[in-house]
């Protein structure tokens, strides 16, 4: 390998537990009776249902359309009847239900008409919209809509395309197995990516604990009409993280708060490349994926699973065992516990990891931090986790942000090495969510305060304007009286008259006042109504004040 590899700071070497699941043949999971397909399976806006209950849908039929630019469509994974549209349990860290379309499958698995796309002939932007409508999203974990990432935009270009086959999380082998068996398809997807991004350098990073995958990808790369470099990377967690892989392969770091495209690099997971190839060369939407089912099961393996399949179906397939203590979606470092096993496999589901007391002993109770800085040594974001912990614990969120809390990628290395067994990542998640909540609150109160301040300013300004107008009028009256000698006999009475006239003028001014009162952007009828009310209120206020004025002027 000619490429000089760089190392990123930190990282850990947990036992990889890959061999449990990557040696068995890949099967397709059985077609379940029911598929629960969430509308929110990607970053961005959830899809909008376009079918109704009772409707028959075909396999691959659009059932939820992309809502906006950063969104992706959702499709029926098999043919059947839409039996429900509404909230259902989904695999999400919040544990809250989300909008799903439930299909009762008919067992026919009948495809909708679909045809390959002639991607070279298509306008790039049409092609991207087509990919969005085929539901493509990143399968590496973040499920970011792929169409967006395939748009280099006006200001960026991506000379370097990195295809991520790192798969650094312990236990997970779906990318490994995909590369072993579908290297050609993956590279066809890469060709489409290259076409859209205009990349000149294509690197495929694979950790060196997957020699079969590396060999398969290298063999497939030989057959291409463009150059692809398959690079074996040292196995280290989180070496498969996008930022870490970029640094290992190129020596560059993605600037804090920016995207990799800002430095001319785009990263896609191998699974995404495979799905892209299925979409372009077969016209198939993203309705299935490879899922590793492993841990405390009889037959750990990788399964081709229809999106929406309940997780329990897969655990039964792999052989449920006694002594299960929990189920994770994802790996042991960044995965999330599943509240129940009716939740469906979604586009983000790379692994179903069944826990037992032996494989995942309960974590010991946390002791105080002894500031040993093992966390700092392990942190791939080069943060000082012990300080972030201190600030998060003390609710000192300002300091936490100064110490780059938001550069934390929540990889879990710090918690993994902590000799005091402190769930550090939890504290960072807590701090982040608190900061978000406070930002939101602050924005709301800022808006309210601005409005209030503007109101005070406006009232003050009106008062001043009226006083000036009044003074000018009185002045004019006085000048008029002074110029008219016939009225000089009763200057006092005239001054009084002038004041009364001014008061009347003021009342008149109030009556006709139409200054907007923070009611911008209202429909015209509403606006009119408000104006009327305001005018009425001004009149009443004036009337209430009227009796006082003569009284004050009594000698």
């Amino acid at each position: 390998m000619s490429r000089t590899l760089h190392t990123f700071k930190g990282g850990v070497h947990p036992p990889d537990h890959k061999s449990e699941s990557n040696t068995r043949p890949v099967h397709a999971a059985p077609l379940p009776k029911k598929l629960v397909i969430p509308m929110r399976q990607h970053m961005g806006s959830p899809a909008k249902p376009v079918v109704s209950v009772g409707e028959r849908v075909l396999k691959g039929q659009l059932i939820g359309e992309a809502d906006g630019y950063i969104s992706a469509a959702v499709h029926a994974s098999s043919s059947g009847i839409v039996s429900a549209i509404g909230l259902a349990a989904v695999p999400h860290i919040s544990g809250l239900p989300d909008e799903c379309i439930t299909l009762t499958t008919d067992g026919l698995d009948e495809w909708i008409d679909h045809a390959p796309l002639d991607y070279r002939a298509m306008d790039p932007s049409d092609l991207r919209m087509r990919l969005r409508d085929l539901g493509l999203a990143g399968l590496g974990g973040a499920v970011f809509p792929s169409a967006v990432k395939l748009d280099p935009g006006a200001h960026h270009h991506c000379p370097t395309l990195i295809v991520n086959g790192g798969e650094c999380e312990p236990w997970i082998t779906c990318d490994d197995v995909l590369m072993r068996h579908h290297a050609g398809d993956i590279l066809q997807g890469v060709a489409v990516m290259r076409h859209l991004l205009g990349s000149t350098e294509i690197l495929i990073g694979i950790e060196d604990n997957k020699p079969e995958a590396i060999a398969a990808m290298q063999a497939a790369a030989q057959k291409l009409d463009f150059a692809v470099e398959v690079v074996a990377l040292p196995a280290i967690y989180p070496g498969g993280g996008a930022k870490q892989m970029i640094e290992t392969l190129t020596g560059k770091q993605v600037p804090s708060g920016k995207l990799s495209t800002d430095i001319g690099i785009q990263v896609f997971n191998v699974g995404t490349a495979h799905a892209l190839a299925r979409a372009v060369h077969h016209g198939e939407p993203l309705i299935s994926r490879l899922v590793t089912v492993t841990g405390h099961v009889l037959r750990p393996q990788n399964v081709e699973v229809l999106i929406g399949t309940p997780m329990q179906v897969l655990i039964d397939l792999a052989g449920d065992r006694d002594g299960t203590t929990g189920v994770l979606m994802g790996g042991p470092m960044m995965g999330m516990p599943m509240p129940d096993l009716d939740v469906p496999v979604v586009k983000a589901t790379n692994c179903i990891l069944v826990q037992s007391k032996e494989l995942f002993p309960p974590l010991p109770k946390a002791l105080p931090c002894i500031r040993c800085t093992r966390c700092a040594d392990a942190c791939p974001a080069e943060l000082q986790p012990q300080e972030l912990f201190r600030f998060a614990k003390a609710d000192d969120f300002g300091r936490a942000q100064e110490y780059h809390l938001f550069d934390c990628i929540e990889c879990g290395c710090c918690s993994y090495v902590c000799p005091s067994h402190i769930p550090l990542v939890d504290f960072y998640r807590y701090a982040k969510s608190e900061i978000w909540a406070r930002e939101k609150e602050k924005r709301a109160s800022d808006l309210a305060r601005e409005r209030h301040e503007f109101r005070l300013f406006r009232l003050e300004r009106e008062k001043k304007e009226k006083a000036e107008k009044l003074a000018a009028k009185a002045q004019a009256k006085r000048a008029e009286l002074a110029a008219d000698p016939s009225a000089s006999g009763a200057p006092d009475a005239d001054a009084k008259k002038a004041l009364i006239a001014a008061a009347l003028a003021r009342a008149q001014a109030r009556k006709t006042e139409v200054t907007p009162r923070n009611v911008d952007h209202l429909p015209p009828d509403k606006q009119h109504e408000i104006e009327e009310i305001e005018a009425r209120r001004a009149k009443i206020r004036e009337m209430a004040r009227q009796p006082l004025e003569p009284e004050e002027k009594k000698p």
Binding site: I370, P380, P419
Partner: protein
């Protein structure tokens, strides 16, 4: 329960156990050079520390088991015991240990919360309060005709009936004391160094002890229990400061190797200044912390009121840790190369 769901096998207990294990070569050499009295001191300090720890945990409403078994109290006890004169009376040992555990550790919030290294606080309190008793050092066995057995040592420590002549025969000034006294009496360094207490680099026997602590310290570094920055910077601080002075006036200032090969320096560099709780945490901060402690040690040894300055130097640097940490925050991933200290 949130991610991650697996842990490295490390624990606070494991860290502390390695520290204790790394002290064993030093203790063995101590016994060989100065006799078995240190074992009595170590045992007494250990028992006192555990009792004090248990009592304080109970008083503060903390569970006893996880904190007693973390071994941190024993580490404090051993570090203090190894800093004390080998024939210090029992009440001195008990007072120092109690002060270390009760005041310096628990009144500051217990494990992980103490600003100052507890063992060094205990030591400082003793040397300020009981300077005379703090000189009761047994000399190296190779220099005296008589030596104390374990029972005799225990008897001395517990204030038993020991002939004064015998005690006088075994105690003697430490090399640092001898140097300081000699210099105060206007002798030159060369004149002082002819005394039998001085060996090749440091004091006779003392240099062996220093070597044993160095060995244990290197083991801790190899095991990644401690980082290299603090010890290296500490030793560099000592060597450079002492070397600078020695270069200008070799008659009035001891040689850098002499200063370096004192047991207190090696113990301080590898076991005390590396205390994570009271030390700096950033890589650059550790360098500053260690170097500052080394520099201050020589300054105190040379111009201060005490023959050795390691304890005060480390305590003074403990005081600076929040400031050092704040201004040495390393660049994070993706941050612009010109790193800026976070605002106060």
């Amino acid at each position: 329960m949130p991610a991650p769901f697996i842990l490295d096998r490390s624990s606070v207990t494991q860290v502390m156990a390695w520290v204790l294990a790394a002290l064993l070569p030093g203790i063995a050499v101590y016994v060989w050079v100065f006799g078995p009295g240190i074992l009595v001191t170590l045992s007494l300090a250990t028992v006192t520390a555990l009792v004090a720890e248990a009592a304080m945990l109970k008083a503060r409403g903390y569970p006893a088991k996880p904190f007693l078994t973390d071994l941190s109290a024993i580490v404090t006890a051993w570090l203090l015991a190894l800093s004390l004169p080998s024939l210090a009376p029992w009440w001195l040992i008990v007072t120092g240990t109690l002060f270390a555990i009760v005041v310096a550790k628990h009144l500051y919030g217990g494990l992980g919360q103490n600003i100052f290294n507890p063992a060094m606080v205990g030591y400082a309190v003793l040397i300020v309060s009981f300077p005379v008793q703090m000189t009761q050092w047994a000399g190296p066995l190779s220099l005296s005709d008589t030596s104390l057995t374990l029972a005799q040592s225990a008897s001395v420590i517990f204030g038993g009936d020991v002939p004064k002549a015998m005690l006088d025969a075994v105690t003697m000034a430490t090399p640092l004391d001898a140097l300081r006294t000699g210099l105060l009496q206007q002798y030159t360094v060369d004149e002082i160094l002819v005394q039998p207490i001085f060996g090749h680099y440091g004091g006779i026997g003392f240099e062996w002890l220093a070597g044993a602590f160095l060995l244990g310290g290197l083991a801790l570094w190899a095991l990644r229990i401690i980082s290299w920055q603090v010890p290296l910077a500490f030793l560099a601080g000592i060597w450079l400061a002492a070397g600078f002075l020695h270069f200008f006036d070799a008659g009035r200032f001891g040689a850098p190797w002499f200063h370096l090969f004192a047991p207190s320096v090696m113990l301080g560099a590898f076991f005390i200044a590396t205390d994570p709780v009271s030390g700096a945490t950033t890589p650059r901060g550790k360098l500053i912390f260690g170097f500052g402690a080394g520099l201050l040690t020589i300054i105190i040894r040379t111009w201060g009121g005490y023959p050795d300055g390691v304890a005060f130097a480390i305590l003074l640097m403990n005081l600076c840790v929040p400031l050092i940490d704040q201004f040495t925050q390393p660049r994070v991933y993706g941050e612009a190369k010109k790193s800026k200290a976070p605002p106060a």
